[in-house]
């Protein structure tokens, strides 16, 4: 039950894009086509989930016992960046279709603040996500990371579908592109406010 609440909160209520403003650049950028939005969603799910697990284990097993949590940011970003780079090389080497569907999105995600944001939120700021005094477990962290990823994928896919539709309509020159996308995101964010009432 608790896990369901965590997942629901992560997907809808604290939606990573619309509420927490993580990962906005690719959200606005790679959302002009549904297919690329879908790939982006998958890539983000893969990277966020694995990075968060890695970060949580590093934090719990290395940083906290040695009392060097102030190195969290450096260690996390270094490990995540290297990890993503490795995965990208690996995919590129062994599967061309997978590379074009997923791999090319990976470097973009290295510097996506959602990845580091979720890693930091679930460890250093764990009490903010899971409540003060909660004993945070790996399974909670994984569920949260998955929820965040699903929330990201959901929103970017919906957003790309809207943007594809919008292409058919004339928009004033100065509103084309980013401005109208921002207004659309505004309306979506308002819609997602509704989920706040549920938990």
């Amino acid at each position: 039950m608790e896990l369901i609440a965590i997942a629901f909160g992560a997907i809808f209520v604290n939606n990573v894009v619309l509420q927490q403003f993580y990962g906005l650049c690719p959200f606005l950028g790679v959302s002009t086509k549904k297919s690329s939005a879908l790939s982006m969603g998958m890539a983000v799910t893969f990277v966020i989930t694995l990075s968060t697990i890695i970060a949580f284990l590093l934090y719990d097993l290395v940083l906290v016992p040695n009392n060097i949590t102030y190195l969290s940011t450096i260690v996390f970003i270094l490990v995540i960046a290297s990890f993503v780079q490795l995965v990208e090389m690996f995919i590129k080497k062994f599967s061309a279709p997978l590379y074009s569907a997923l791999g090319v999105y990976l470097p973009l995600i290295t510097t996506n603040c959602a990845v580091l944001g979720v890693a930091i939120d679930t460890t250093v700021n764990g009490s903010k996500i899971f409540g003060v005094g909660t004993d945070v477990t790996l399974i909670m962290v994984t569920v949260y990371a998955l929820g965040i990823s699903i929330g990201y994928s959901l929103v970017i896919f919906l957003f790309s579908a809207i943007r594809e539709e919008m292409d058919a309509y004339p928009i004033k020159r100065n509103w084309q592109g980013i401005p109208i996308a921002l207004i659309t995101a505004f309306i979506m964010a308002m819609v997602f406010y509704g989920f706040g009432g549920i938990v």
Binding site: C25, P26, L28, G29, V30, T32, K33, S36, S39, M40, A43, V62, N66, N67, I68, L71, V75, L78, V79, S82, Q85, L86, M89, F90, K92, K93, V104, Y105, P107, L108, T110, T111, I178
Partner: protein
């Protein structure tokens, strides 16, 4: 003095480990590709912001080589960048001698 020892050990373990991993991976997992791809990528801002609609700068470079994207789609890139890429591509044909038609 314990603190700094731990920090140094950790820094060394992590960095040596990752560096070895990455450097060997770059050899073991090396893939032959159009040399112009890396060059164009390097000319792009490499901010990997995705605002051009392509997933990252490398993908944008590929897209430019494929004549799918316009240089102006790159939001962080300035006029200077666009000119540099155009110049580069005008000077570098592919293996069969064909030139990329650059869309500004």
């Amino acid at each position: 003095m314990d603190g700094i020892v731990i920090v140094i050990i950790l820094a060394l373990v992590v960095s040596i480990g990752l560096a070895l991993l990455l450097s060997f991976a770059s050899v073991a997992l090396h893939v032959e590709e159009d040399p112009r791809l890396q060059d164009v990528t390097d000319l792009l801002p490499n901010q990997n912001c995705g605002l051009c609609g392509n997933p990252g700068c490398k993908a944008m470079a590929q897209s430019i080589l494929d004549e799918d994207s316009r240089l102006s789609q790159c939001k962080p890139g300035d006029q200077e960048m666009r000119e540099l890429i155009k110049e580069y591509l005008e000077e570098h044909p592919d293996e069969s001698g064909e030139y990329v038609k650059v869309k500004m």
